[in-house]
């Protein structure tokens, strides 16, 4: 379970997010500029809240009052960025291995081939990110995140940088990911259709505030 209760001022914009995400997929849903990405950056440890607490499965990641602020690299939270952010100087294989390498884990051939199969990226392993299409890049980014064995998966508009055809290409993989990865997912999106097919819980964010939490009934038709 993920419990977030944070406040942050960003220039003239003030962000105040308070919600709880249980297992399964929770969507942070709201228009662009609502502060959704800033919220998950705070969960990941890339942005430091001014006040508040972030707790994941009883483990305090951030607590302003107790001066706890676990650095991003020790949080073990997987993050799939909107633009993939693959390392351009490393092959796909080494991108996939990066998390394991940084956490000095032994090679797990079974896990590796499972993820490669799940995302259908076996043919891409020896290529560089520069030679991949947008959809392929995003699949590799998802795989890289899965292979670090995260306790929580953050997906920040993983389809937003793709055209309609590419979205169709990735979408089935996201559904498989949700069903097979046994970690909770926080899915950021401004697309109600996407959220409907992926998430069970919805946290509606608008103007830097959580305006409602609940199920899919919160989504516009």
């Amino acid at each position: 379970m993920l419990a977030v209760d944070v406040e942050k001022r960003l220039g003239g914009f003030s962000l105040n997010a308070n919600f709880v995400a249980e297992g399964g997929a929770t969507a942070l849903f709201g228009p662009s500029g609502a502060g959704k990405t800033s919220v998950i950056n705070m969960i990941a440890g890339l942005l430091r809240p001014d006040r508040g607490r972030i707790v994941l499965d009883g483990d305090v990641l951030f607590d302003a009052g107790k001066r706890v602020d676990l650095p991003a690299w020790r949080r073990r939270i997987g993050y799939v960025f909107q633009e993939g952010r693959l390392f351009p100087h490393l092959s796909v294989r080494r991108n996939l291995d990066y998390g394991r390498w940084m956490c000095s884990q032994a090679a797990d051939v079974a896990a590796f081939s499972h993820v490669v199969e799940l995302l259908d990226i076996g043919a891409l392993l020896d290529r560089r990110p520069g030679k991949l299409s947008g959809g392929e890049r995003q699949r590799v980014a998802i795989g890289r995140t899965l292979l670090m064995r995260p306790r929580l998966l953050l997906l920040d508009e993983p389809l937003a940088s793709l055209d309609a055809a590419r979205k169709q290409e990735i979408f089935p993989y996201l559904l498989r990911l949700r069903d097979e990865a046994k970690v909770p997912i926080v899915y950021v999106s401004h697309d109600a259709g996407e959220v409907k097919s992926i998430a069970r819980h919805v946290v509606r964010v608008d103007g830097g505030r959580v305006t409602a939490t609940g199920g899919l009934e919160l989504l516009p038709d």
């Binding site: 690299w73 560089r128 030679k131």
Partner: protein
Amino acid sequence: MLHLTPQDWTAILLSLRIATVAVAVSLPFGIAVATLLARKDFWGKSLVDAIVYLPLVLPPVVTGYLLLITLGRRAPVGAFLADHFGIVFAFRWTGAVISCGIMAFPLMVRAIRLSIEAIDRRLEDAAATLGANMFWAFVTVTLPLALPGIIAGATLAFARALGEFGATITFVSNIPGETQTISAAIYTLTQVPGGDAAALQLVIVAVIISLAALVASEWLARRATARMHGT
């Protein structure tokens, strides 16, 4: 075509040795300072910035003289190093390494800094979410991506060190076999009646070495860039 005397060869090899050692020793500092200036905001940053670039705008003779009055045998730092560690820089080739290294430092830092500033910091964030602490994110992401700039900076510094004259001759003088570099040897020859032909030989050598350094760096930087974005 070229008829180089043993003295010429001594000066050429000494120049190459001084420039190579100067670049090798200053490169880690250059990378550290460039990273600091590119990535951190701290109190007194503009002062550090100014000090790093100072040798670029100061007359080289001034830099050499400042070195002489700090690292000379009777100067405070120089005397301390000589008495306690037996390290002497004045009138030694190692002193030339210092003056050349300092004169070349701004060019090195500038090239590396530009390449680090051009790197998408969000890649370092991505590395952090994958478990890399700041040190490892730097070593595995920032440093390789900055490689073309590091190569360019090292080459510029090498060429600058090779051509250094004013600071070096002021600090360590012009001793054949110890501190007489190509530039100093050319200068000496032009002071001697009939030395023009011999000076020209060394001028040609200097042009060849500099050109070779530039071509090599261009090739290396291209390869590094291709490695980064290509197949």
